[in-house]
């Protein structure tokens, strides 16, 4: 019962009903109009024929007098068909014709009219006809008529047929509307149910598809695509929070252990002091990791796009190279930087500098063998090269080293957050360096890829050259520059 009520109250059914109503009204109007026009046409036709006949008979009378008229009327009365005739004299006596008497409807009438007359079996008023009374000089009255009983019966039948078919149509329409709304309602309810389940936490569930590719299917398809994206994001988020939990909890635990150990140490003040210093160092490392995480999150949300400005990538590269050159030298490496001048990119200088710095930092870190700095031996000094080239509509900033490199199967993974390949666990770092580079690249519409430098690793940061803004949109970063 409630299902029926819901069905009757459903949008598709109400729509079907409204549609039906409008259709029935339109059909009734059309049928009515056709009936009216057909009736009019037929009546006019009959009246015209009558008028022509009357004119003919009047001519016969003028030519041959009442005698001739009577003969013709008698003659025509016998002809089969629908013609009706009556000629009466002044006293009202029938002279000729196939009607018995002047119909009441035509007595004293000036114009033609519809009348009823008795049929051949004598049933009075059982048949309909149209007739015209014609006064003939000498007191005669001539009535000429046409039987329209068949015609009107036909019209009545047609009218009834019309009404019945409209009723049938309405009935069929309501039925079809019910069926259609039932099927649509069923599908919508399936979608509602599925979305409830998803809201309830089952993120892997999808909206059902009908397979017809209609608009409901298309809607479900795009909602499913949206759900897939949401699920993907949530899974990624969960992964990130797991990683954060791991990479923040481990140093937090270390920090706690260190403080506890210092507190337990019987040496007193001196060991407390040492413990506190180490605790602060540990806290600073944690803060750095935390800041990197926040920065990556903000970059991935595209939150710093407003601070972009035109910059010469060559100067970004030479500045970073200049910053790291002494570090490389101290590690027994030669840092070689080269970049063509005159290119312009729209970037956040700070972030791109940081990305390039991270790459150089990594290259230096991994070029040094585990044993520490290798002694400089002149020509054989391992190199870290920082270079830039224009490739089509982009620039490629390449940082290459001669370290152990990254095996092909690990390259994709190395760009993910917190991933520190097993071999690098012993070296310092948060594991966020490369993922920060990847986030910076994405923010600028570029990319980062790792290649084999045979031997060593080559990291290629690609940034698009497009969309250099006019000089007025200078980087707001510069506003904060306070170097004299």
């Amino acid at each position: 019962m409630t299902a029926l009520i819901r069905l009757l109250g459903s949008t598709p059914f109400r729509l079907a009903l409204a549609y039906m109503g409008a259709f029935v009204v339109a059909a009734a109007l059309v049928v009515g109009f056709i009936a009216w026009r057909a009736n009019d046409l037929l009546t006019n036709k009959v009246v015209e024929t009558l008028e022509a006949e009357v004119t003919g008979l009047r001519e016969q009378f003028q030519a041959g007098g009442p005698q001739r008229l009577a003969t013709i009327v008698a003659q025509r009365s016998l002809e089969p068909g629908s013609g009706l005739y009556l000629l009466v004299d002044a006293s009202g006596r029938k002279v000729a014709g196939n009607l018995d008497r002047v119909p009441r409807e035509l007595e004293g009438a000036q114009n033609g009219s519809v009348f009823a007359y008795a049929d051949e079996h004598g049933r009075r008023g059982s048949r309909l006809a149209v007739g015209v009374p014609l006064p003939v000089p000498g007191g005669f009255v001539l009535v000429v008529g046409r039987d329209i009983e068949d015609l009107s019966r036909f019209a009545r039948t047609m009218g009834q047929l019309g009404l019945w078919s409209i009723a049938l149509l309405a009935l069929l329409g309501i039925g079809a509307g019910l069926a259609a709304s039932r099927s649509v309602l069923k599908r919508i309810e399936a979608i509602t149910e599925a979305s409830r389940a998803i809201m309830g936490g089952d993120l892997s569930k999808r909206l059902p598809l009908h397979g017809s590719g209609d608009e409901l299917d298309r809607l479900s398809e795009s909602l499913n695509a949206m759900l897939a994206r949401i699920e993907e994001l949530i899974v990624a988020l969960r992964e990130v929070s797991d990683n954060i939990a791991h990479d923040l909890k481990t140093p937090l635990n270390r920090l706690r252990n260190r403080a506890e150990a210092a507190l337990r140490n019987p040496d007193g003040a001196a060991s407390y002091r040492d413990g506190l210093v180490k605790t602060i160092e540990e806290a600073d490392e944690l803060i750095k990791t935390f800041n990197s995480l926040l920065l990556i999150a903000r970059l991935e949300a595209g939150a710093v796009a407003e601070s972009m400005g035109p910059a010469d990538p060559a100067s970004i590269i030479s500045d970073v190279a200049e910053l790291y050159e002494p570090v490389a030298e101290e590690a027994g490496l030669h840092l070689d930087a080269s970049a063509p001048r005159g290119l312009a990119v729209v970037v956040n200088r700070e972030l791109v500098s940081q990305a390039v710095a991270n790459l150089v930092d990594n290259a230096i870190k991994y070029s040094v063998p585990d044993g520490g700095a290798r002694p400089g031996d002149g020509a054989g000094r391992p190199e870290v090269t920082l270079s830039m080239a224009r490739v089509g509509d982009s620039i490629e900033i390449t940082v290459a080293d001669r370290g152990p490199g990254v095996p092909p199967q690990d390259r994709e993974r190395a760009l993910q957050r917190f991933v520190r390949l097993e071999k690098s666990r012993s070296r310092p770092g948060s594991g966020l360096g490369l993922s920060l580079v990847a986030a910076v690249a994405r923010l600028h519409g570029g990319s980062i890829r790792l290649e084999d430098n045979a031997p060593g690793l080559r990291a290629v940061l690609t940034l698009p050259l497009r969309g250099v803004r006019p000089a007025t949109a200078a980087s707001p970063l510069r506003a904060g520059a306070n170097a004299p």
Binding site: I280, N291, V327, G480, A481
Partner: protein, 226 residues
């Protein structure tokens, strides 16, 4: 010096007040933006430490109000928001320096001391000297005991910044920000390497070192006598 700390977190404010007193400064505390603005208007302070998020009136608007009234008291903005855009907004509002929470107290102290001894903009010093080391900002010449020292352009700027703040602690981040114009933490301590290079150029072969490392804080250039 007299410091006004506008900070709504009681514990942070008390920690700053106590630490500043221990460092030999006087510190007043205001717990919200309105009272902070009122106290700052009295003009009794040498430097303001303003938290960005404050009840009743936010930190940036306090700084903006002071600047529009013509106050030139140096302001250090403290904030949990540390991204590039936030810092730019803070400096545009009229802040002289921007420090992100969490921070080390030594960093904060070094920065406010650098702010208060900053010469007024119109004051053009063309020459710095510490002990027998002197730097000419116009000719870009550096001499120690009369002997010329050849420095790379960046080394010159590094020494210039250190000498401008002679006798004050200068932190690694301050150097990175002011000499290199970078606001990020390099993973390796690149600044230490640059300092040791500079040190080998200006101090090597001299009995009295001028460039000192301040443990747990940063670097300081000063005449060894004091």
């Amino acid at each position: 010096m007299r410091v006004l700390v506008i900070e709504d977190d009681r514990e942070t404010a008390q920690f700053l007040q106590r630490s500043l007193r221990e460092s030999g400064h006087t510190a007043d505390v205001a717990g919200d933006g309105e009272s902070g603005l009122a106290m700052a208007r009295e003009g009794r302070h040498d430097v303001l430490i303003v938290d960005r998020m404050l009840p009743r009136r936010d930190g940036l608007s306090v700084v903006q109000a002071l600047r529009s009234e013509g106050s030139r008291t140096p302001v250090l903005i403290l904030s949990a928001l540390g991204e590039v855009d936030d810092r730019v907004k803070g400096l545009r509002a009229g802040g002289d320096d921007y420090l992100t929470k969490p921070y080390a107290y030594t960093e904060l102290l070094a920065r406010i001391e650098a702010l208060t001894r900053r010469p007024a903009p119109e004051e053009q010093v063309t020459r710095y000297s510490v002990g027998d080391l002197s730097l000419d900002r116009l000719s870009h010449k550096v001499t120690r005991a009369g002997e010329p020292i050849l420095l790379q352009p960046r080394e010159f700027r590094l020494l210039e910044y250190l000498m401008k703040h002679a006798g004050q602690v200068v932190t690694r981040t301050m150097l990175l920000e002011n000499v290199w114009d970078y606001h990020f933490d390099p993973q390796t301590n690149v600044i230490d390497v640059h300092i040791s290079r500079l040190r080998s150029k200006i101090d090597k072969g001299f009995a009295k070192p001028l460039l000192h490392t301040v443990r747990g804080a940063g670097y300081m250039i000063r005449d060894g006598a004091d």
